[in-house]
């Protein structure tokens, strides 16, 4: 069994012809605001972006990041949704107080 796992790992995997490797869904933590993050952020990039940037950003850090997404990168986030997204990321992926 171990030897099978080894050889299965060592040989390159076959993929259907697509632009990227198979993007596996990133499971975000459950909580209010999660769907807003998934719906807005995943337009441009996979959700491992916010996850890998955790848990060292405080509220101000997440706010600055989301504002950059909107003002620099043109993320089409509704104005009233921005604080909810910042709340979610701060609570579930932010610096522990």
């Amino acid at each position: 069994m171990k030897r099978f796992l080894f050889s299965a790992f060592l040989f390159p995997c076959l993929f259907s012809a697509q632009a990227f490797g198979q993007e596996q869904p990133i499971g975000l933590r459950d909580g209010p605001g999660r769907e807003l993050v998934e719906g807005n952020c995943a337009i441009c990039h996979s959700l491992d972006y916010p996850v890998m940037n955790s848990p060292f950003l405080d509220r101000a850090g997440w706010e600055k990041t989301i504002n950059k997404m909107v003002s620099v990168y043109g993320a089409p986030i509704k104005k009233e949704d921005i604080p909810k997204i910042v709340d979610y990321l701060t609570r579930y992926y932010g610096k522990k107080e």
Binding site: F9, C13, G21, V51, N53
Partner: protein, 410 residues
């Protein structure tokens, strides 16, 4: 391969079979922890080995756009094989270019006559050259910053050394004719953003850098056509400078008489002025407070020993690694095995030119059982050396702190 460690660390590995089914074992016997340690917790959790078409398993930092780094053990070879070379993109709209229809367009207000070249034109009309050069992401090791900064949380693997074959950008620009007053040269590739509002990834370089004999439009990497993920069919090569300038899938090169105001040069990729000992400066883009990142800083990496590795007393340990800088040449690599108190010179390997990294090796004979911290510190020919304390900057660039690898002798 089973690592030489005497203990197991679990790693989650996921890969999809061609039928689209999902096989996700929780542990692979003997595989080492991906890490490296020091990355933010979230980055460690998301570190998995994953496969892009044409590549062996690499350490995935993000799926989309793809950011995948090379496991350090591949850096024991002087040239990094194409199928393990790291992949970095800013934007997710990545084309598969048909090389027969690809054209390189030269234009701008500071050329005499705009030009359009096919790949055949490029290969037949200009003298080919090949240069060995290290390609390193500006943010390599950003994940190891303390305090952490946002961005792609790279470990050690966002770099690779290759032989790049192509034509001199200078020869191509001279064919179009460079006017007096030329200031910068913009570089635009075929990839682009998902949303029209997102700034396209376009860089510029100073005219003097563009006409430097080492700046290339390359179509081969290590003797093969560029891999899709490393810029097929052609990319710009700027030896000594960080990889942000090595624009992939290059299509449009414009010689201009005024400073380019694109986001990715004007706002992004900046370092605080005077914080780093750089020689080549992008003066037409400088502000009072910051300047574009340019040359790589002197740095080194231990490539054949992992943190926590265990050795038996009585055996000589060969420590191997690589060292590099912004193109002035490596003068010495010194190694310490007592946590930085005493240093001895390592032996330097064959010189593949000042833009290639330089291999080094050091034989360590531990006098007794115990724990040792192995460190390597490179110095270049103009006296620049690595730092013991991180030169922190908000974007997470130029991490060249002397690395410490812990080993146990039993």
């Amino acid at each position: 391969m089973i690592s030489r460690r005497g203990f197991l660390k679990g790693v989650a590995v996921s890969f999809a079979m061609s039928a689209g089914r999902f096989f996700e074992p929780k542990y692979i016997f003997g595989m080492s922890f991906i890490g490296p340690k020091g990355l933010p917790e979230g980055a460690l959790r998301e570190s998995i080995m994953a496969v892009l078409p044409g590549k062996k398993p690499l350490i995935k930092r993000s799926y989309r756009p793809p950011n995948y780094e090379t496991p350090v053990r591949y850096f024991n070879d002087i040239f990094t094989p194409n199928d393990v070379f790291f992949v970095r993109y800013h934007l997710s709209n990545i084309p598969q270019v048909d090389v027969k229809r690809w054209r390189l367009r030269i234009g701008g207000d500071a050329v005499d006559k705009p030009l359009e070249l096919s790949m055949d034109d490029l290969k037949r009309s200009f003298e080919p050259v090949e240069i060995a050069a290290l390609n390193q992401c500006s943010g390599n090791r950003r994940g190891l910053f303390s305090p952490h900064v946002p961005g792609v949380q790279w470990g050690y693997g966002a770099m690779g050394n290759a032989r790049w074959k192509g034509v001199r950008l200078r020869d191509v620009l001279n064919r179009a004719g460079i006017r007096a007053g030329a200031l910068e040269v913009t570089l635009n590739g075929a990839d682009g953003p998902v949303l029209p509002a997102t700034p396209d990834f376009v860089k510029s370089i100073p005219i003097w850098k563009a006409i430097n004999e080492n700046t290339l439009v390359a179509y081969e990497m290590n003797g093969e056509p560029l891999p899709q993920w490393n810029g097929f069919p052609a990319r710009v090569i700027v030896p000594g400078w960080t990889a942000t300038y090595w624009v992939k899938h290059i299509t449009d090169i414009n010689v201009i008489s005024k400073p380019f105001d694109g986001y990715w040069i004007k706002k992004a990729y900046r370092i605080p002025s005077s914080r780093f000992p750089i020689v080549e400066r992008f003066i037409s883009q400088e502000t009072e407070v910051d300047t574009p990142i340019t040359e790589m800083v002197v740095n080194s990496l231990i490539t054949n020993i992992e943190d926590g590795q265990i050795f038996r007393l009585g055996h000589a340990i060969e420590i191997r690694g690589v060292a590099w800088d912004g193109g002035y040449g490596i003068k010495t690599v010194e190694v310490s095995t007592d946590g930085g108190r005493g240093w001895q010179s390592a032996e330097l390997g064959r010189d593949y030119g000042r833009f290639s990294w330089r291999q080094w090796s050091f034989v360590f004979r531990p006098p007794r059982r115990g724990k040792y911290t192995v460190m390597a510190k490179a110095t270049n020919r103009i006296g620049q050396t690595q730092t013991f304390e991180l030169i922190w900057n908000p974007a997470g660039y130029h991490n060249n702190v002397v690395q410490g690898v812990g080993v146990s002798v039993v």
